[in-house]
């Protein structure tokens, strides 16, 4: 599975990919304030890219042509609890997330 889109070139499109967010790091421990686009001000400790992978699976397909539609994201960002899986993707799988600091 993948999150994000290489063709996202507007803020509106980026908002539609809730699994990919950024945090402007004041220190390496800065958390919160996730944004769908890059920070617009200097970030003393760099930028953290956060990937929240979807946790709902359709129960049938191990992959899909776009590598995303067999999964469903209930993420609200920042590791908040989210709603239940929809009927179309009823199987809960472990939720994977990445934090990448640059």
């Amino acid at each position: 599975m993948t999150v994000g889109s290489p063709s996202a070139n507007t803020l509106e499109v980026a908002r539609g990919h809730p699994g990919l967010r950024y945090t402007c790091l004041q220190t390496v421990l800065t958390r919160g304030g996730e944004t769908p686009d890059f920070p617009t001000k200097p970030c003393p400790a760099g930028i953290m890219a956060i990937h929240h992978f979807p946790a709902c699976w359709d129960g049938k397909n191990l992959d899909s042509p776009d590598h995303q539609s067999h999964m469903y994201s209930t993420t609200k960002g920042a590791f908040q609890e989210a709603g239940p899986c929809p009927d179309s993707h009823p199987v809960r799988v472990p939720q994977v997330a990445y934090e990448t600091m640059v």
Binding site: M1, T2, V3, G4, S5, P6, S7, A8, N9, L20, V28, L29, D37, F38, T40, G46, I47, A49, H51, F53, A55, W57, G59, L62, D63, H67, Q68, T74, T75, F79, Q80, E81, A82, G83, P84, C85, V91, R92, V93, P94, Q95, V96, A97, Y98, E99, T100, M101, V102
Partner: protein, 175 residues
């Protein structure tokens, strides 16, 4: 690769996650806890133009990734990666999965690009200390926070299935 023109940086690309092999015991250990999570650091294992999910078999792929995790990373990655790998750059050594992300570049005024290196997260060592043996890479989380949620009872969690492994083979391994 799309580009953020305001900053002259490349925008991250979709990120692949090879379906991780999780041991059944790991998943079961979570099931009884209200909020269980694993967090571990992974050093960069390679920076390559390879993408076994979006462009399997393409050497090179059209875009670049930084990769962390096990030593079975390849252009195709078929079968149970957990059975093929023998070591990993992740601190959680029971997991031989690979994880990869886009690579960010800084565009200089003269038009040249320089790769911005990753640096390790804080508190990846024991007892909340920093880990000095993690180089670059990223931090991986497996959480249950997204489960059921909003005060509802936890739902059953199903482990990831390895790609390309017949169900009969999988069942044999689980016995």
């Amino acid at each position: 690769m799309s580009r953020d023109k305001r900053h002259g940086r490349t925008l991250p690309e979709p990120v692949g996650n090879q379906y991780p092999k999780m041991k059944p015991s790991t998943v079961l250990a979570h099931a009884g806890l209200a909020q269980a999570a694993i967090r571990f650091g992974c050093s960069t294992v390679s920076i390559q133009r390879l993408d076994p999910i979006v462009q399997p078999g393409s050497t090179p792929s059209s875009h670049l990734h930084q990769i962390v995790g096990g030593n079975a990373f390849n252009a195709t990655m078929e079968g149970d990666i957990g059975e093929q790998a023998t070591c990993t750059t992740c601190a959680f050594v029971e997991d031989f999965s690979n994880y990869w992300t886009a690579v960010m570049y800084f565009k200089h005024p003269n038009g040249s690009y320089k790769r911005v290196p990753q640096y390790p997260n804080a508190q990846l060592g024991t007892e909340g200390k920093n880990a000095d043996d993690i180089n670059g890479g990223m931090t991986i989380y497996y959480t249950q926070k997204d489960l059921g949620g909003n005060g509802k009872p936890l739902k059953k969690v199903t482990a990831f299935k390895p790609v390309g492994v017949a169900a009969s083979t999988r069942a044999a391994r689980l016995r």
